[in-house]
């Protein structure tokens, strides 16, 4: 009985090992497809992210004067109370939203990416990523207000506010942009990824390397 169980586990090991290999083989193609999808949807993503960021900024603003206008993949920070000849600062939306490519590629490389379940997970994950991108843009705008407008910034923002917005911008910039797609993908697909990695398959307390060796031995004996 033990031997049959071990053989089943070993066979399962081969299947799961293949799942990881299939994922890694699919990933480059998935990346190309993700770049194409992102390029296609970029205007919509830019508008959605800037719109959500504007809503968030205006929720805590009195009077509500900030407007984020997307032009040529740049979010222009326009304020209703600025003179018409004032310079307009802008943030590159490409840098804010490019990590959508990574999230899409990771989803597309998983098994059965077009199933209803995976589509729902992708939708939820994408929404969370859009929120993180909007928060990143919000911190860019607030950092500019708190630090970049000379005496006006000094007068309207405290040192604490400057530190909070600067800190928020720093963490949501490179660390956030680089790590959020991975975290969101892993968070929404934990059991799929763990099955793929063979972490949730066996429970005999051995590392994957040992399990593989054991699997090989059993196959030779069997």
């Amino acid at each position: 009985m033990d031997r049959v169980g071990a053989q089943v586990r070993a066979a399962r090991g081969i299947v799961v090992k293949n799942a990881t290999q299939v994922f890694l083989r699919r990933l480059p193609l998935a990346l190309i497809a993700a770049i194409a999808i992102w390029l296609l949807l970029r205007p919509v993503i830019d508008t959605a992210v800037a719109g959500l960021a504007q809503t968030l900024i205006r929720s805590f603003e009195y009077p509500r004067v900030t407007r984020l206008v997307v032009e040529d993949h740049q979010a222009q920070m326009r304020r209703a109370d600025l003179r018409t000849d004032s310079k307009v600062a802008s943030v590159s939306m490409t840098e804010v939203t490019f990590n959508t490519i990574v999230l899409l590629a990771l989803y597309l490389a998983l098994p059965r990416p077009f199933s209803r379940r995976q589509a729902e997970r992708l939708f939820m994950g994408w929404c969370v990523l859009c929120l993180s991108q909007s928060i990143n843009l919000l911190f860019h705008v607030k950092t500019l207000y708190a630090m970049g407008l000379g005496e006006w910034s000094q007068h309207h923002y405290s040192d604490l506010a400057r530190n909070i917005f600067g800190f928020g911008r720093y963490f949501t910039d490179l660390p956030g942009r680089f790590s959020f797609p991975f975290l969101i993908w892993l968070g929404f697909n934990w059991e799929v990824v763990m099955k793929m990695l063979r972490v949730s398959e066996d429970t005999d307390g051995k590392t994957a390397t040992k399990r593989k060796k054991k699997g090989k031995e059993l196959r030779v004996k069997g």
Partner: protein, 171 residues
């Protein structure tokens, strides 16, 4: 759901540990003293390595601090371009994931070396994109190579976890 129950969930535990390690490492790297003593010299080493590879390819590349220049093109290697961020994210992933300490050590050392190798290819290729297709430099820099480097880091983590991760019950 109580905090203890949440902690029992492996995905929640991984996310909390990952974000804690990532946050702590980025907070350390953000300190001016650490930046001056480690990050800037590290970036300069990356620039020197890139300059060396470009000279091997026949470019008359000169390195000044973090700037790699030749008569044909010049690139400045900033903090986001030195591979440090991807490395820190990869290390956080390895440390937060249940595995034995030697396996984690192998992951950290192997991952760092591989990510640096990929980053070197990135810098050299971007230099040539700048030489031959300067109009596409920004696109290649921001969304092509950054996506590639992140995906490569995640692939490395998957390979490592597939080989060394402990089963959930024993973690």
């Amino acid at each position: 759901m109580s905090l203890r129950e949440l902690w029992q969930k492996p995905e929640a535990r991984f996310l909390v540990l990952f974000l804690t390690i990532l946050g702590a490492s980025f907070a350390v790297v953000a300190l001016r003293q650490v930046n001056d003593a480690f990050v800037t010299p590290y970036t300069a080493v990356i620039a020197r390595m890139s300059g060396f590879v470009l000279r091997v390819f026949g470019e008359k590349a000169v390195v000044t601090g973090c700037v790699v220049s030749s008569p044909r093109f010049a690139v400045t290697i900033y903090n986001g371009c030195n591979g440090l961020i991807t490395s820190l994210i990869f290390i956080s992933g390895v440390l937060a994931f249940p595995a034995k300490i030697p396996a984690k050590l192998i992951g950290v050392i192997g991952g760092l070396l591989t990510i640096q190798l990929i980053n070197l290819v990135r810098i050299v290729s971007l230099f040539y994109v700048g030489v031959f297709l300067p109009q596409h430099f920004n696109d290649a820099h921001i969304f092509v190579w950054q996506s590639l480097v992140i995906t490569a880091g995640i692939s490395l983590w998957i390979v490592w976890a597939h080989r060394f991760a402990l089963p959930e019950e024993s973690s």
